[in-house]
């Protein structure tokens, strides 16, 4: 089975269970979660992200995939915006701004060109991305094609691309120039941590095949493969030599031969294969299946609860209801205690993070100082303008990649501790064995760990992020100040007429200052992030717990009614539930997962 078939199978199983659960357990707490999951499976879509340096023919390539000359080619400055193409029979452009406003225009080459040319990517502009709608067959089956600005442009989109788009892409197309493959900046990009887990989703496209001799093509492709192997450690990377220009002409003018020799047909087939069999689709499928299994576990626990309650005497049940009621009555009391507990734990977490950030700041400052002190080159402008910011940027990226794991570990431990405490307290007072409690406590803590891979899970709020959420803190408001820091322009003026050694102390002073303010900013972001995460943990745990109390009470009440009326349908219900449980447990979930 390929991805689509497995997904359809999963969808069918989930939908059929939903109907049965609606019928047999109309008050189940899991109905909503199950229908949400079904929606998410149905709403799944595929993202193809095109990355690469300027002037590597990215826009021509995108036009070729879309079979339409829509993206502006050969404009200076080249595109510095993220473009996302969607299927629609009404061609339109949606300009999505940072403040949430969306401007809708008719799709035309001129309008797009206008945006591309007027946009300079200097950090202060307000466009988030452009959405292009057009009736391209390539986009028809829920495919979104994302064209990104050149990698060699250190602008505010860069961390969005690395941390937001790439990890979730089904296919990543890395555009290379066959005439100058794998320059240093490209190498640096491939070495990034964020790409480690998605290597097998990258298709390397070597453009400009038409610009080199035919007999050299094979050698160049080999050379590119070897370089990629060296950089990424990936065996036999997929490299496709193409001529985007010839492919586009072939498509636009119906020239089959030209299209055939352009290499584009093979590539398009590989894109399809990667969507259907790639690791991203496996990841999504495994995530969907785990979510389903978890929901069904809770449903089985609900069935256990009903079955247990059915066996108890009327008096026992009445007594249990009273105890649960008393828990509700105490709500204010235990919420207060939770708040107090979390405040103290937040103090600890904030302290740990602050201290580590301070250690990081020290390290960064020492490294930058070292770099400035031992700089003996002649091009100080490039050194200050591009080398140092790039060094800072990779310091931050690496730190976040590594430390966000630690921070999430802390948050996860906190969540477990809280839910364990609540569960124990509840068990002390309510004697009926509530199997759901165990599930909630030890298995239901999906919020921080398991939900983060799925597109639709963004709904769940901040708890989904992992490394990427924290990395995005460094987005627009954060990366840019490194470059445009207040002290720099002053220094540039002096660079022109002073000797390097004379400038160094001043340079050190200003850069030290701007790093300090950068860290102040970072500190504040982190602190806000932690507060938000802890508040989410509180809300989530309380909500789950409260729901559990309500549900347990309801089930017991239902059983009380059953017993009082001694209906024969109650017996039939028990049978149906037993059957449902069997069906859930017997399903071969492993077939859908690797």
């Amino acid at each position: 089975m390929n991805y689509e078939q497995k997904k359809a199978e999963l969808l069918q199983h989930a939908s059929s269970l939903l109907e049965k659960i609606k019928k047999e357990m109309p008050s189940s707490q899991q109905l909503e979660a199950l229908s949400d999951l079904i929606d998410d499976i149905r709403q799944d879509y595929y993202t193809i992200v095109v990355v690469g340096e300027f002037k590597h023919g990215k826009s021509t390539f995108v036009n070729t995939l879309l079979s339409e000359n829509v993206m502006p080619v050969d404009v200076t400055p080249t595109t510095a915006l993220i473009h996302a193409a969607f299927f629609s029979n009404t061609p339109e452009i949606h300009v999505v701004k940072r403040d949430g406003e969306v401007e809708i225009k008719h799709l035309s080459h001129d309008v797009l060109q206008n945006y591309t040319a007027s946009y300079h990517g200097d950090g202060d502009n307000e466009i988030k991305y452009l959405k292009i709608f057009l009736p391209s067959p390539f986009l028809e089956k829920r495919v979104v094609l994302v064209d990104t600005p050149g990698l060699n442009d250190l602008n505010q989109h860069r961390s969005e691309i690395t941390h937001r788009f790439i990890p979730r892409a089904d296919v990543i197309i890395f555009m290379l120039d066959m005439t100058a493959p794998l320059k240093k900046s490209e190498q640096e990009f491939l070495e990034k941590n964020a790409l480690k887990h998605v290597k097998d989703r990258i298709l390397y496209v070597a453009n400009f095949m038409d610009r080199i001799d035919e007999e050299e093509i094979e050698d160049v492709v080999d050379l590119i493969k070897r370089r990629i192997e060296n950089i990424t450690g990936q065996e036999n990377p997929l490299v496709f030599p193409i001529s985007a220009q010839e492919a586009l002409e072939g498509k636009l003018y119906g020239n089959e031969e030209l299209l055939h020799y352009s290499g584009m047909i093979d590539l398009e087939q590989q894109i399809k294969r990667t969507i259907e069999h790639g690791s991203r689709s496996e990841e999504k499928l495994s995530h969907f299946t785990n979510r389903l299994k978890h929901i069904l576990d809770l449903i089985c626990a609900e069935i256990d609860l009903i079955q247990q309650a059915a066996q108890q005497s009327l008096d026992v049940l009445k007594n249990e209801v009273q105890k649960i009621e008393s828990w509700f009555g105490q709500r204010e009391n235990w919420e207060m205690q939770i708040k107090q507990y979390l405040y103290e734990r937040e103090e600890e977490i904030q302290y740990l993070v602050k201290k580590s950030v301070a250690a990081f700041e020290e390290k960064v400052k020492a490294d930058i100082k070292h770099k400035i002190t031992y700089f003996h080159g002649s091009d100080i402008k490039t050194f200050v303008e591009s080398h140092l910011p790039s060094v800072l940027h990779s310091h931050f990226t690496n730190w976040i990649d590594q430390y966000s794991d630690y921070i999430y570990t802390l948050l996860h431990k906190l969540e477990m501790e809280l839910s364990k405490g609540l569960t124990e307290a509840f068990k002390q007072t309510v004697q009926i064995n509530v199997p759901l409690l165990k599930k909630i406590n030890y298995e239901a803590n999906l919020s921080l760990t398991a939900v983060h891979t799925e597109n639709a899970s963004v709904k769940a709020g901040l708890l989904v992020g992992g490394a990427s959420t924290i990395a995005l803190l460094m987005g627009a408001s954060f990366v840019v100040p490194i470059i445009g820091a207040a002290g720099f322009p002053l220094i540039y003026r002096k660079i022109a007429d002073k000797q390097l050694e004379q400038i160094k102390p001043e340079l050190l002073f200003h850069i030290d200052q701007s790093i300090t303010s950068l860290f102040d900013d970072f500190d504040q972001h982190m602190s806000g992030f932690i507060s938000q995460a802890i508040k989410d943990i509180k809300d989530f745990t309380l909500e789950e717990f409260y729901r559990l109390l309500q549900y347990t009470e309801k089930i017991i009440q239902e059983q009380i009614t059953n017993k009082q009326e001694a209906t024969s349908s109650a017996l039939a219900q028990q049978d149906a539930l037993e059957q449902l449980k069997q069906e859930i447990q017997d399903y071969p979930y492993h077939l859908l997962q690797k």
Binding site: V96, E160, Q322, E344, A359, T409, Q431, A476, G528, Q532
Partner: protein, 137 residues
């Protein structure tokens, strides 16, 4: 995949999902009503000292070993009363109350042990009857 799979969903839906996934800004304004503790690295020293992690120069590296203080919910405004025998006694007005098994169900003809659901919750004495649990005893 058959085309019928897609027909329920128009493509504009993909565009909305895309906005949901990629359009959100990650800003962290402090949550309403949430008080963020202010921490001064130089003066802060009130943590429990069983966790040496606080003393590390770069403490986050050691979080795998870290244990939070366990959360004990103190429900001591409530307590559980085990079922017990109440000896017979004479009320002020002279009526005699026979001894009975007090198990919280309000029915003295059925006697239950804790395992059978006997026992009940009572509010602790705190000099106010306003917050007391009602009972059917």
């Amino acid at each position: 995949m058959s085309d019928s799979f897609f027909k329920d969903f128009d493509q504009s839906n993909v565009s909305d999902l895309f906005d949901q996934d990629y359009g959100r800004d990650f800003q962290f304004p402090l949550p309403d009503g949430h008080v963020t503790p202010s921490i001064d690295l130089n003066t802060f020293s009130s943590f429990d000292h069983f966790n040496h992690i606080f003393d590390h120069h770069d403490p986050l590296k050691y979080v795998y070993k870290f244990k939070f203080k366990p959360f004990h919910l103190n429900v001591d405004n409530l307590h559980f009363v085990k079922p017990h025998y109440v000896d017979s006694y004479v009320r002020k007005d002279g009526t005699v109350v026979q001894g009975y098994w007090r198990d919280g169900d309000g029915d003295t003809s059925i006697n239950r042990m804790t395992e059978q659901g006997g026992g009940y919750l009572r509010s602790n004495p705190d000099h106010t009857t306003l917050n007391n649990l009602k009972s059917n005893l």
